[in-house]
C-alpha cells in the first residue's frame, strides 16, 4: 500500500480542507472515465485520509514530511511577490541592474 499522502501530494500535517481540495484537484486532472486506475488510487488514498483518527495519528506519530526548505523558500518568494513592491525598491532595481 502506497503512502496516501504521497499519492495526493500532501504533507502528513494537512488538514481536512486541504485533503479535500487536493482530492478535487486530482479528480479533475484524472477523472474516472479517462484514468480509472489512477482515479482508484486517488480515491483510496482520499478515503483513508478522510478518517480523522488516521490524520490525527499521523500528526502525532509521523515525523516525516513532504515539505522541505526549498518549498519554504518558494512560500517566502510567493509572499514577496504577493506584496506590493515599494517605489523605492523599484528604483533601486533599476539602478542596480
Amino acid at each position: 500500500m502506497t503512502d496516501p499522502y504521497a499519492t495526493l501530494g500532501l504533507s502528513p500535517h494537512a488538514d481536512e480542507a486541504e485533503v479535500r481540495r487536493r482530492y478535487l484537484e486530482l479528480v479533475r486532472e484524472f477523472p474516472p472515465d479517462r484514468a480509472p486506475e489512477r482515479f482508484a488510487t486517488i480515491r483510496a488514498a482520499y478515503d483513508e485520509l478522510r478518517d480523522p483518527a488516521r490524520r490525527l495519528e499521523d500528526r502525532l506519530f509521523y515525523s516525516g514530511t513532504t515539505d522541505n526548505l526549498d518549498a519554504l523558500a518558494v512560500d517566502l518568494r510567493k509572499r514577496l511577490r504577493d506584496k506590493r513592491i515599494p517605489l523605492s525598491v523599484l528604483i533601486e532595481l533599476a539602478e542596480s541592474s
Binding site: 515525523s63 526548505l69 514577496l80 513592491i85 517605489l87 533599476a94
Partner: protein, 834 residues
C-alpha cells in the same frame, strides 16, 4: 632622502607620465589619475595628453557616480566641459554620462550637431533618469518635465493601490513619446500586482531592453524564478524587514551536507526571522528538520545523539502539538538506540500535555490520548513478533513469565486506549491480536464482539468469530457469523468457505441428534455454495457417513458404488470415509466394515495417485486442527504407505503434495529427503523440490547448515517459479524471496559469523543464541506436537471438534492494510518492571 622619496624617484625614472596615468586608472585611483594627467598636459600640451586628461575626467565622473556621489560627479563633469571635449569617442560616452549625472541640457548641447537618433536616445535616457531621480529635474528639459512628473505620480498612485487612477494619469502619453515605455511599464506593474502575470509579461515584452523600465521589469520577472539568488535584498528588507532567503539557502546547504553544528549556529536566528514573517513558517522549519534529526540520532553515537536532540529542543520553534518536546523525545527513545521504558516515560508526559493542548479540539484530545496509549501498547511486543532477526528465521524466546508480563501490559494499555477512544477500530484489532498471539482465543473472541458492537459490519471480526465457534463445535453460532460476513462481502472466498463449513458442521450435528431432514438441507445448502466440491472424496465421504448414520444403507451404498466406480483409485476415499465414520459415531460393525475396506486398499500396489490422495486427505484434517480418535494411527498408516513409494514413477503434483505433508512431520525427515531427491531427479525444473532441498540444507543447525547450497537452491527455485505458468509454483515466489533475503542478511550481518569458520566452534554467545532460535523453530514445534499426539491415549468415545476438512482451504483474505511504521521498533527488549 627618505625611502618614500627614493621609491618615487625610482618610479619616475621607470614610467612615463602617460604610463603613470594608465597605471593609476587601472588601479582605480581616478583622482590621482586626473592630477597626473593635468601635470602631463601642462608639461606637453599634445593631442595625446589632452585625450588622456579627458579620459581621466570621464573615469573620475563614473567612479563618483558609482560611489553614489552625484554632486561631486556633476562638479567633475563641469570641469570636463570647461576643459572641452575634443575626442569623438569620449564625446559620445560623455553625453550619456552627463545625462546620468543630471546634466541633460549639456549633454544635448554636446551632441547638438549629431543625428536626431542620437538626440532621441539621449532624451529617453534623460527621461528615465528624471523618473528615477525627480529631485534632479533640469530647467532645460521643460518640454518633457511635465510628462516625467506625470509618470512619477502614476507610479506613486499605483503604490497606494489605486490602479485605475494611475493608468488614467498616463492615458495621454502617445506611442512615440519617450515616456511610452513608462506607460507600458506601469500597465504591466498594475497587472503584476494583481497576479496577472500574462498581462504583465505582454506589456513588459514591448519595452526597450536598454531602458530603465525594462531593467526593473526583468528583475520583477526574476522573482518568479525558482532560484532564490535572483532576489534583491532590498525587496526582502522592504517586505520582511530583513533578508531571509539567502540565510535560508545557506541553511539548506548545511542540511544537505549534514552539517548540524553550522545549522545550530544559524537555527535560532533563522527561526526568529521566519517567526516575524509568520509564526507558522518557524513551525514548518521545525517539522522539516524533525525527520533528518531522528535519522541523524540513529546514525550518531549515543552521547552525540542526545546532545543533538537537546540542542535542537533549545533552539527550534516548538510545535503546537508538542510544546514541551515530550513527543519528540518519545519518538527518539523508540529508535534503535533507545529504550522502550524511557520512551514510555516520555509518552506518559505527553499524555499530560495532551490533557490541555490548545492545538487540539477537546474531542481530539481524548482520541489523541487513546492513540498514545495504543502507541505505548505497541512497544510491548514479544521478541518473536519484533523482527530483530532477518525475516524467515525463528527468533529467540523470552521466559514465559516475561511474555505474560508483556502481554498484560499491552492489554492494559490497549484497554485504556479503548476507554478513551471506544470508536477506534485499529485498537480493537490490536487488542485481539495480542490475545491471539497469546493463544487466548476466548478473550480474542470477546474483543471481536466488542468491535462488532461498534462496527457491526466488521468483516474480520465476523470471520474471526465464525472460526472461533467452529473450534468450540458451535456450528449454529458459526453459521450466524458466517452469514453476516457473507452479507458484508458476498464474494469473498473466506466468507463462502466459512458458511459452507458451518453448514457442513451443522449437518453433522443434526445427524448426531437424529434430525435427518435438517441435516440433509444443510448439506444441500453447502453443496449449492461450493458446487465444485460436490464430487470431492471428502464431501462424498461425509454424505455417505450421514446416510449411514440415518440408517439409509441402500442410499449410502449407491453413493459408494458411484464414487468408487468413478475414481481411478478409491483408497483416499476409504480413508476419508473411515475418518467420517468415527466422527459421525457410526455403529461399531459399520466402522469395522469400513476399516476393512481401508486396510485392504492399503495393501494394494502403491501408486502415485493414491499417495497424493492420501497425503491430501490426512493433511486437510491436520491443517484444519480437526482431531478425532484414531488420527495418529491413520497418520502412521499413511506414512507407512508412503515409505513404499520411494521408487515409483510419481506425478509431479502427487509428489509435491506428499513432500508437503511429510515436511509437517519432522520424524520423517529421512523419508522426506529421499522423496525430495526423487522429485529433483524426476522434475528438475520444479521449484517445489528445489525449495524443499534448500530447506533441508538449513535444517542442520549452526555446525552443519549449508548456507551456500541453500541459497543457491532457493535462487534456482525462484527463477523457475517466476517463469512457471503453474499457479501453485508461482505462489512460491514471495516465500522464496523472503528466504533468500533472510539468508543474505544472516550471512552479511553480525550473525553471518555463525556460518564462518570458528576455530573450536562458534563463540558461546552466538551458539547460545542459535540454540534459542532453534528451540523456537518450526520443526521443533511440529515435533513436539506429534510426539504428544502419539503418546496420548485417545478415548474412543472422544468427539473432537466438528471442523470440516476442506481439501484445500482457500487462503484467508488479506486483512486491512496497515500503515508502515515511520520509526523503527525498539530493538532492546523491555525489562520487567516491579
Amino acid at each position: 632622502m627618505s625611502a618614500k622619496d627614493r621609491k618615487q624617484a625610482a618610479r619616475k625614472s621607470v614610467f612615463t607620465p602617460r604610463q603613470e596615468v594608465e597605471h593609476l586608472l587601472a588601479k582605480g585611483r581616478t583622482k590621482d589619475a586626473v592630477k597626473q594627467a593635468k601635470i602631463a598636459f601642462k608639461a606637453e600640451g599634445s593631442e595625446a595628453n589632452r585625450h588622456l586628461l579627458e579620459r581621466a575626467y570621464m573615469h573620475r565622473v563614473r567612479q563618483l557616480l558609482d560611489e553614489s556621489m552625484p554632486a561631486s560627479a556633476r562638479e567633475v563633469a563641469q570641469h570636463l566641459l570647461d576643459f572641452g571635449i575634443t575626442h569623438p569617442e569620449i564625446k559620445n560616452d560623455a553625453a550619456r554620462l552627463l545625462v546620468a549625472v543630471g546634466m541633460a541640457q549639456e549633454a544635448l548641447a554636446l551632441q547638438g550637431k549629431d543625428t536626431p537618433e542620437v538626440r532621441e536616445r539621449l532624451v529617453r535616457q534623460a527621461v528615465d533618469h528624471l523618473v528615477l531621480h525627480p529631485e534632479q529635474e533640469q530647467v532645460s528639459l521643460r518640454d518633457i518635465a511635465p510628462g516625467v512628473r506625470q509618470v512619477r505620480l502614476a507610479l506613486e498612485t499605483l503604490e497606494t493601490g489605486d490602479e485605475a487612477r494611475s493608468l488614467e494619469l498616463l492615458r495621454d502619453i502617445s506611442r512615440n513619446s519617450p515616456l511610452a515605455d513608462w506607460k507600458l511599464f506601469v500597465r504591466g506593474l498594475a497587472a503584476y500586482n494583481r497576479q496577472g502575470l500574462d498581462e504583465a509579461t505582454v506589456n513588459w515584452n514591448r519595452l526597450d531592453p536598454d531602458r530603465a523600465p525594462a531593467r526593473i521589469a526583468n528583475r520583477l520577472l526574476a522573482l518568479l524564478d525558482p532560484i532564490p539568488s535572483a532576489f534583491p535584498a532590498s525587496l526582502e528588507i522592504a517586505s520582511f524587514g530583513e533578508p531571509i532567503l539567502v540565510p535560508l539557502r545557506q541553511f539548506r546547504d548545511h542540511l544537505s551536507q549534514g552539517e548540524w553544528d553550522k545549522m545550530f549556529r544559524e537555527l535560532t536566528v533563522l527561526r526568529f526571522k521566519l517567526r516575524r514573517v509568520d509564526p507558522r513558517l518557524a513551525e514548518r522549519l521545525t517539522l522539516i528538520l524533525l525527520d533528518p534529526l531522528i535519522k541523524r540520532t540513529i546514525e550518531s553515537p549515543y552521547k552525540q545523539a542526545m546532545a543533538l536532540v537537546k540542542r535542537f529542543c533549545e533552539q527550534a520553534e516548538p510545535l503546537p502539538i508538542d510544546p514541551h518536546w515530550n513527543r519528540l523525545w518519545a519518538l527518539i527513545w523508540e529508535g534503535p538506540q533507545g529504550n522502550p521504558d524511557t520512551a514510555e516515560e516520555y509518552w506518559q508526559r505527553y499524555l499530560k500535555d495532551l490533557e490541555n493542548l490548545p492545538a487540539l479540539a477537546p474531542e481530539e484530545r481524548r482520541l489523541a490520548q487513546a492513540l498514545v496509549w495504543k502507541r505505548i501498547a505497541e512497544s510491548y511486543t514479544v521478541p518473536s513478533d519484533a523482527p530483530d532477526l532477518p525475516p524467515g528465521l525463528p527468533s529467540p524466546k523470552l521466559p514465559k513469565e516475561e511474555i505474560e508480563y508483556i502481554e498484560e501490559r499491552a492489554v492494559a494499555c490497549l484497554e485504556e486506549s479503548l476507554r478513551l477512544g471506544p470508536g477506534h477500530r485499529a485498537t480493537y484489532e490490536a487488542l485481539r491480536n495480542v490475545y491471539l498471539r497469546g493463544n487466548q482465543r476466548d478473550q480474542a473472541a470477546n474483543v471481536s464482539r466488542r468491535l462488532l458492537a461498534v462496527f457491526p459490519e466488521d468483516f474480520d471480526s465476523l470471520i474471526e468469530l465464525a472460526e472461533h465457534h467452529f473450534r468450540l463445535d458451535e456450528p449454529e453460532l458459526a453459521l450466524d457469523y458466517s452469514r453476516r460476513a457473507r452479507a458484508v462481502q458476498p464474494l469473498d472466498p473466506a466468507a463462502i468457505t466459512n458458511e459452507w463449513t458451518a453448514r457442513v458442521s451443522l449437518a453433522r450435528k443434526h445427524a448426531l441428534n437424529s434430525r435427518w431432514d435438517e441435516g440433509r438441507a444443510e448439506l444441500d445448502a453447502a453443496d449449492a455454495l461450493r458446487s465444485a466440491l460436490k464430487e470431492d472424496v471428502l464431501a462424498v465421504a461425509r454424505r455417505v457417513a450421514f446416510e449411514l448414520k440415518a440408517g439409509e444403507a441402500e442410499r449410502a451404498s449407491k453413493m459408494i458404488d458411484e464414487i468408487v466406480g468413478r475414481l481411478v483409485e478409491p483408497t483416499p476415499f476409504w480413508l476419508a470415509l473411515r475418518i467420517e465414520a468415527t466422527r459421525y459415531k457410526l455403529p461399531k460393525p459399520e466402522k469395522d466394515r469400513l476399516e476393512a475396506h481401508w486396510t485392504t486398499a492399503l495393501t494394494k500396489k502403491v501408486r502415485s495417485e493414491t499417495a497424493g490422495g492420501l497425503a491430501a486427505v490426512i493433511s486437510a484434517y491436520y491443517k484444519s486442527e480437526i482431531d478425532y480418535p484414531g488420527r495418529n494411527q491413520h497418520l502412521r498408516q499413511v506414512t507407512d504407505y508412503l515409505r513404499r513409494t520411494t521408487r515409483i514413477k510419481y506425478r509431479r503434483e502427487d509428489l509435491a503434495g506428499v513432500c508437503r505433508f511429510l515436511s509437517l512431520w519432522p520424524k520423517e525427515t529421512e523419508l522426506l529427503d529421499k522423496l525430495v531427491k526423487r522429485g529433483l531427479k524426476l522434475f528438475p525444473k520444479s521449484p517445489t523440490f528445489l525449495m524443499m532441498d534448500a530447506l533441508a540444507a538449513m535444517r542442520g543447525g549452526p555446525y552443519s547448515i549449508h548456507t551456500r547450497k541453500a541459497k543457491a537452491q532457493f535462487e534456482k527455485a525462484l527463477k523457475l517459479a517466476e517463469a512457471s505458468g503453474d499457479p501453485d509454483e508461482a505462489a512460491l515466489v514471495p516465500l522464496l524471496r523472503e528466504k533468500i533475503s533472510a539468508l543474505t542478511d544472516l550471512a552479511s550481518g553480525p550473525l553471518g559469523a555463525l556460518f564462518g569458520s570458528f576455530p573450536g566452534g562458534p563463540p558461546p554467545q552466538l551458539f547460545d543464541l542459535f540454540s534459542r532460535m532453534m528451540e523456537s523453530g518450526d520443526f521443533d514445534d511440529f515435533e513436539d506436537d506429534f510426539e504428544d499426539d502419539f503418546e496420548d491415549d485417545f478415548d474412543d468415545e472422544f468427539d473432537g471438534g466438528d471442523f470440516y476438512a476442506a481439501p484445500a482451504p482457500p487462503p484467508k483474505p488479506p486483512s486491512r492494510p496497515k500503515k508502515p511504521k515511520q520509526n523503527p521498533k525498539p530493538s532492546t527488549q523491555r525489562k520487567k518492571r516491579k
